[in-house]
């Protein structure tokens, strides 16, 4: 496993056989294979699964999950965590609503200000972590409470539902069969991919995550990098918040928050991002979110469960990951055999 989206080191043999294909390549390929299998199974059992309506709705919610996952992923890259992703998210939801509805600012201005606000909250996290030396887990745990508390104080829990119609319309729109929100998520993904794969900054972030002491001794400004990823995380949480606001055509205090906590970790970790830092996968995060959404949606369409749904969700998720584990094992064995 190389740090990012592995360009597979052993490219030759076995290229033409199916087994060869299956047993090469990184986790991301494995996830893709699982996804294809699941899609195939779900469609053949429940035709509603691939209906335009269902795909569209899945696409939109995955898009938000993906960006939420990104917001966590960039911090995980340095070996830290951001438990306040959801709190920043809900603050941004409300700020966006306020800017558009109460302050009546033009949509693009509101968007920029919202993202900047997310970045600002992230910067507070980063500064607190670097200046106090308290670990990111505790700082962001406390700041989550600070941020969402602050939001409650200002809004008194009252939602805003008079947003400009065009803003909500964007959340429902699409280009052909692809929801606009999914395109936004992919664009953000592309930028992050470039960041981590092709820029110095991205490399530095990963180096800090994999070994902060070595990074420092190599002249990398560990403190500044830490602050930067938190700002980025805040901006991404802000982006996810805007997407959510657009999708719901309203800003309300009950969204994001704690609801984002686990999903923010789930997608990156399934996708191959290391909790310990130093290794991220943008594509993996997208596939991870897709996997979870596919399983949920598939179970819903199959009408499995009702109250039991969560049980099946857990079981399916585990089986899918087991499958990938097994495939990865085969892949390593294959590479070893060829050595």
């Amino acid at each position: 496993m190389a740090p990012i989206d592995n360009d597979s080191p052993v490219p030759d043999a076995g290229r033409h056989s199916l087994l060869g294909l299956l047993t090469r390549g990184p986790t991301q390929l494995g996830l893709l294979i699982i996804l294809l299998i699941l899609w195939f199974v779900f469609t053949s059992v429940a035709p509603g699964f691939l209906s335009r309506f269902n795909l569209n709705s899945m696409g939109r919610s995955v898009a938000i999950d993906v960006v939420v996952g990104f917001a966590q992923m960039v911090v995980l890259a340095t070996g830290g965590m951001n438990l306040s992703v959801g709190a920043i998210g809900v603050c941004c939801v409300m700020i966006a609503g306020y800017l558009m509805q109460a302050a009546g600012l033009p949509i693009p201005v509101s968007i920029l200000l919202t993202l900047a606000f997310g970045g600002l909250l992230g910067a507070l996290n980063g500064l607190a972590i670097v200046k106090t030396g308290v670990n990111s887990f505790i700082v962001t745990l406390a700041s989550a409470s600070l941020f969402s508390g602050g939001m409650l104080i200002f809004t008194k829990g009252v939602p805003l539902n008079g947003l400009p119609a065009t803003f909500g319309a964007f959340g429902r729109s699409g280009v052909g069969p692809v929801p606009s929100l999914a395109i936004v998520a992919l664009l953000i993904g592309a930028l992050l991919y470039i960041l981590f794969k092709h820029t110095v900054l991205g490399r530095q972030i990963l180096a800090v995550g994999a070994n902060a002491r070595t990074a420092e001794m190599s002249g990398i400004p560990v403190g500044r990098i830490t602050i930067f990823v938190h700002v980025l995380s805040g901006v991404l949480a802000g982006a996810a918040a805007l997407m959510l606001t657009s999708r719901l055509s309203a800003a309300m205090p009950a969204v994001a928050g704690d609801d984002w906590l686990l999903p923010s970790f789930l997608a990156p970790v399934i996708g191959g991002t290391a909790l310990a830092g130093g290794m991220v996968s943008v594509i993996g995060t997208i596939l991870g979110a897709l996997l979870v959404a596919t399983i949920r949606s598939g179970l819903l369409v199959l009408q499995v469960g009702n109250f039991w749904l969560q049980l099946f969700l857990g079981v399916f998720l585990l089986s899918a990951i087991l499958f990938e584990r097994y495939r990865a094992k085969l892949a390593i064995r294959e590479q070893t055999r060829r050595a």
């Binding site: 600070l146 508390g149 109250f307």
Partner: protein
């Protein structure tokens, strides 16, 4: 006295202990109700479940792993225990016994899956957590079990002066855990695995065994917390455990545990739980505007941790 002070200065959790004590003193001036027997009872009772939940996660941090299913597992055990009493009319002791064994078993499943598949424990327990929650909802359909053994419920509400009877359980567990991690070979092995799994393996310690044991222990503790929650609430609510995740990590980590594993503090965890309990109690006693409660909770935790960190730097630790 001097040595006591320097010991205190060196101990990881002394900063937050100072926070707890100072907070307690300030509060007793600010609100006459604080020092009443009944308030102490209420506060102590409220930390019983949290403490066990925190221990359940702390054990995992000890071996360098996480358990995201603590809440779901505890919740499942809660309704299983309640259901056994309500639907099958089993005596409390039997129901509790089965419930706790069930928790240990669920923990074993977590551990076994982590070890055998080599999948990150984070994902395994996230998935099993979902499964446990699903079983909980599936059997209850979100409707609580009410007909519990009266003696059991009485135990949940009984008190001895300011001390809730329930407190016996977490106190006993605290003592056992201190001995387990400080003085037993298995306990030391778990911490060794958390501190450096590779080195532990090379020293002939079975990492697999230690990991599974930690999961079982974590399951047992979460199960105990679930049972206690039922006793405390007087009914087996399917929502028990739903919001345990955050406190489960927060308390051990505020108390000095390292997320990287191998380093935990049982007393630190205890004090951290006390700190959070105290802050929450204060908010109600001082009739803080409800919209400010969340904000202040965050601010106070940050402040306490900051003080502790400042102390650590002064002592030259880390």
């Amino acid at each position: 006295m001097k040595t006591l002070l320097s010991f205190a200065a060196r101990t990881q959790w002394s900063g937050i202990l100072v926070g707890v004590i100072a907070g307690g003193i300030a509060l007793s001036f600010a609100s006459p109700a604080f020092m009443t027997e009944f308030n102490w009872f209420v506060m102590l009772r409220s930390i019983c479940v949290s403490l066990l939940v925190a221990f359940s996660q702390m054990v995992m941090l000890g071996v360098g792993q996480m358990n995201l299913s603590v809440g779901a597992l505890g919740g499942l055990v809660a309704v299983v225990t309640g259901g056994l009493m309500d639907v099958w009319g089993l005596p409390a002791i039997v129901a509790i016994g089965i419930g706790i064994v069930f928790g240990g078993l669920a923990g074993f499943i977590n551990g076994w899956l982590t070890v055998r598949t080599g999948i990150n424990g984070f994902i395994v327990t996230l998935a099993t957590g979902s499964a446990f929650a699903g079983i909980n909802l599936g059997i209850t359909k979100a409707i609580p079990f009410y007909n519990l053994s009266p003696a059991f419920v009485a135990f949940g509400n009984g008190r001895f002066g300011p001390f809730p009877l329930l407190l016996i359980v977490p106190l006993l567990v605290t003592v056992l855990l201190v001995i387990f991690f400080a003085r037993t070979v298995e306990g030391r092995y778990m911490l060794a695995v958390g501190g450096n799994a590779h080195a532990a393996e090379l020293s002939g310690i079975s990492v697999a065994r230690a990991t599974i044991m930690a999961h079982v222990l974590s399951g047992l503790l979460a199960a105990t917390a679930g049972v206690l929650a039922v006793a405390q609430l007087g009914s087996a609510q399917p929502t028990i455990g739903a919001d345990w995740v955050v406190i489960s990590f927060a308390a051990p980590i505020i108390g000095g545990a390292s997320l990287a594993g191998g380093s935990i503090s049982i007393l630190g965890t205890l004090i951290a739980v006390l700190l959070v309990g105290l802050i929450q109690n204060a908010m109600v006693l001082l009739a803080v505007d409800p919209y400010w409660v969340t904000f202040l909770l965050g601010a106070l935790i940050l402040a306490a941790v900051w003080v502790n960190r400042y102390r650590a730097i002064r002592v030259g630790e880390d």
